[in-house]
């Protein structure tokens, strides 16, 4: 049925007369668009499959950023600390909070539609949607994957990821790869074993499931003592990356459980605290690299794997850069998983004296959670966390939000209880002295060398992530509410806007009708900025 058809039908009924048009094509986000980085759209959680969060847009640049002004604010009702990363397709922006999706005119901020899920379990955060063809996809606090019609917000299908009554939920933005929706789970601190699923994006049928905790007899199961694998954790609560040429999906895996007491789970506890490379067609494991074997500090390795092609030791390599919660910056060969380089990106790191040639941490004896408490640096919150890093091909720098600080870490003999209860076996008390500081740091891609840093003065924690643009800018949302543009090559602050709310989300950029916008979720609002004229 065309526009022409329906309006002609109405005319026959004597109701409505209108000019008759050839039907416009339905808005579609194609696989090709998903493969192309740097369009006017922002189509995936980290802007492109390689997760560089680098946009080719440069209308807003080091020379014009002075004229960057707020264009609109969209208030998300009842939100407090949004972590949603807006997705923008053809002038429509999609933002979320737990159980809710909003479609907004990306030029004006006016709402187009909203979706509210019932029954609504209270569990957060939600980090955003994925988009493909005429649907948007998001995951819910009751562990469902929901497909909505992108034009109307109507529910098209729902797929159950896991049992919410067991304690499962899902906060991460899904990812679309070749017509499949990739979605994961969250409750690693509850002793529930994680998964990474692929669903047919058209029908919602589950196509494969990767289990990060191997079952007895499977490779890796020997790294779990006794029955400890049964409550092993290993969840997938952030979004991964994808290399179309290698056809490999990269995803970070969370902490083992119980978080702070490893006595009951002796062994390396694969594939927790690892990045896994999967065949997106089958979900089969191609390779893995474990950053923190037998982790005792809840240092989830879910931080975004950033894919860069660059010369390393004289040869062009397909690289993966990853700043881990454990305080080390890693460079891997993403075709094979081979460790190439690792170095600390925080100064306060006392649990390991370095990495072996294979990338395994060299442990400092005794620096681990104890019954009486031991000072461990970084703290459990980590040197990095969910706030996305960025990479600029123009500067060759890898940008990361780095938390300096330590915690007094304790362990206990807590045992697992089914039903979604926490299974952490205690935690740490952050040492909030004058060494507790947050920085935006620029690292040389291949050496990890600190090239510049900018302190987020007045912030008591991470805040939001980073966005690099071809305009030579690095956008940074601070926990204290400042939204800042730094000069990408040297970290000099060129522009700032005080949003009045804590920022815990990553910024994006997009263009509508040739005009560039920069947007970020701040507290309970989505704010979008553009040049004055």
């Amino acid at each position: 049925m065309t526009v022409c058809g329906i309006f002609r039908a109405m005319t026959l009924r004597g109701i409505f007369t209108a000019a008759c048009l050839t039907a416009a094509l339905t808005a579609q986000v194609t696989d090709r668009q998903l493969h192309e980085a740097n369009s006017a759209n922002w189509l995936t959680y980290n802007g492109s499959y390689d997760s560089r969060r680098h946009s080719a847009l440069k209308q807003v640049n080091v020379s014009t950023v002075d004229s960057l002004v707020a264009k609109w604010v969209f208030h998300v009702p009842n939100a407090t600390a949004l972590q949603t990363v807006p997705i923008v397709a053809d002038g429509v922006m999609y933002v979320t909070q737990p159980n809710e999706v909003y479609a907004v005119d990306a030029r004006t901020g006016r709402q187009i539609w909203e979706y509210h899920r019932v029954p609504a379990r209270q569990k957060g955060p939600n980090r955003g949607v994925a988009i493909w063809r005429d649907k948007v996809y998001f995951t819910t606090p009751d562990a469902f994957l929901v497909a909505l019609n992108a034009a109307s917000g109507n529910v098209v299908w729902e797929a159950k990821l896991a049992e919410a009554s067991d304690g499962y939920w899902s906060p991460a933005a899904p990812m679309i790869v070749n017509g499949k929706v990739i979605a994961g789970s969250a409750p690693g601190d509850h002793g529930l074993n994680g998964f990474l699923d692929a669903y047919d994006a058209t029908t919602g049928e589950r196509l494969w499931r990767f289990n990060p905790i191997p079952k007895p007899g499977e490779p890796g199961s020997e790294t779990w003592a006794g029955e400890s694998w049964k409550a092993g954790g290993g969840n997938t609560w952030l979004t991964g990356s994808y290399d179309p040429d290698l056809n490999l999906l990269y995803w970070g895996i969370g902490n083992p459980a119980p978080d702070f007491n490893g006595d009951v789970r002796k062994g390396d506890n694969l594939y927790t605290e690892s990045v896994v490379a999967l065949d997106p067609d089958t979900g089969r494991l191609k390779w893995y690299f474990q950053f923190t074997p037998h982790d005792l500090m809840d240092w989830d390795a879910v931080e975004i794997p950033v894919l860069v092609d660059a010369t390393y030791e004289g040869k062009p390599r397909k690289l993966m850069a990853h700043a881990d919660r454990n305080g080390f910056y890693y460079l891997l060969d993403r075709a094979t998983g081979k460790f190439l380089h690792g170095s600390p990106f925080v100064k306060q790191l006392n649990w390991a004296s370095g990495l072996t040639a294979a990338g395994r941490p060299i442990l400092v004896p005794g620096v681990e959670p104890t019954l009486m408490g031991t000072k461990v640096c970084p703290a459990a919150i980590g040197a990095a966390n969910w706030m996305s890093p960025a990479f600029s091909p123009d500067t060759g720098l890898f940008y990361v939000v780095a938390q300096e600080g330590c915690g007094i870490a304790n362990k206990s003999t807590e045992t697992f209880r089914p039903g979604g209860f926490q299974y952490r076996a205690t935690g740490d008390v952050e040492v909030r002295d004058d060494t507790w500081k947050v920085y935006v740091r620029a690292l040389d891609l291949t050496t990890g060398k600190l090239m510049w840093e900018q302190e987020r003065i007045g912030s008591t924690g991470f805040g939001g992530g980073l966005l690099s643009t071809a305009g030579g800018l690095l956008f940074s949302g601070e926990l204290n509410g400042e939204f800042v543009a730094l000069e990408a090559k040297n970290g000099k602050a060129l522009w700032h806007f005080y949003t009045g709310q804590r920022i815990t989300a990553s910024p994006i950029t997009y263009a509508v009708n040739g005009r560039q916008f920069v947007a970020i979720a701040a507290g309970s609002d989505i704010m979008s900025f553009g040049l004055l004229k």
Partner: protein, 271 residues
């Protein structure tokens, strides 16, 4: 002191405790509600409108946008028997059993369609929806259909049967977000659809093809809104009696809920 205090509390509790509210001794079967409707139309329409609609001096009893304070069977019975002091609502003088019949009728017209037993074949109703009725061109049920009109996946749980019937048979006002509009741009392009949202500066147009067009009104020569809904009516005449009843029955059984919820999302996963 403690035993005395306990006894005092017990005594207070027994004073506070209310007897269970009486429920309708005649039940709420369709026949009871229908007898109540006839009684209501004889006894109450000097103020209220017929069949529970709005009257010259009394409000409608099933108006969707109105919040009613008397909703339980006992509360409605009390109003019929005793009136509402300080208002024009008098005691009706109906005998108890007749008052209960009217209670059944009022509860019936306020019920959502899914609460009622609506005769008709659901499967045939769906065939009408997607076929001769043309409903699915604009409406979606569980992922199938168009987007120009509201999603009907939970309409049975949202609307009363009267409202459903009215929507299919009477011309009604256009809900926000569904007003037909024709937009002519400065370049002379013409677009038609419904205006999902508009103000003095922008307009969101949704075409039947699901294409959203977002206009800055500085780029628009004219936006002409229709005062008439795209929703056809008169289905009771254009469909056979069986087809109409099957369609009504199918719609009454659509109960996938879509209700607004309030939530806060501040927990930090992974911490």
């Amino acid at each position: 002191m403690k035993p005395i205090l306990f006894a005092v509390l017990l005594g207070a509790a027994s004073l506070v405790a209310q007897p269970p509210k009486p429920s309708n001794p005649l039940g709420d079967a369709p026949a009871v509600a229908e007898s109540g409707r006839l009684l209501y139309n004889r006894s109450c329409t000097s103020c209220h409108g017929p069949d529970g609609g709005e009257g010259a001096r009394g409000p409608a009893l099933d108006f969707a946008g109105r919040r009613y304070f008397r909703v339980s069977e006992a509360a409605i019975f009390d109003v019929i028997k005793n009136g509402i002091p300080g208002t024009a609502m008098p005691a009706s003088g109906l005998a108890d059993n007749d008052a209960w019949r009217v209670v059944a009728f009022i509860r019936n017209i306020r019920a959502t369609a899914s609460d009622l037993v609506v005769p008709g074949e659901e499967q045939n109703g769906m065939a009408v929806f997607t076929g001769v009725g043309g409903c699915s061109r604009c409406h979606m049920i569980r992922g199938q259909g168009g987007v120009l009109g509201p999603d009907l996946s939970s309409i049975g749980a949202q609307a009363s049967l009267n409202r459903l019937r009215d929507a299919l048979t009477k011309e009604r006002s256009i809900p926000n977000g569904y007003r037909p509009v024709t937009v002519t741009t400065l370049k002379g392009e013409i677009f038609t659809g419904v205006a999902r949202n508009s103000d003095a500066f922008s307009l969101q147009l949704l075409e039947e093809s699901s294409k959203l067009r977002l206009f800055d009104l500085s780029e628009v020569r004219s936006a002409v809104f229709s005062k008439q809904s795209l929703m056809p009516h008169g289905y009771d005449k254009s469909l056979s009696k069986t087809q109409f009843q099957d369609l009504l029955a199918m719609l009454s059984r659509q109960t996938r809920t879509k209700v607004k919820a309030t939530l806060q999302g501040e927990n930090e996963v992974g911490r």
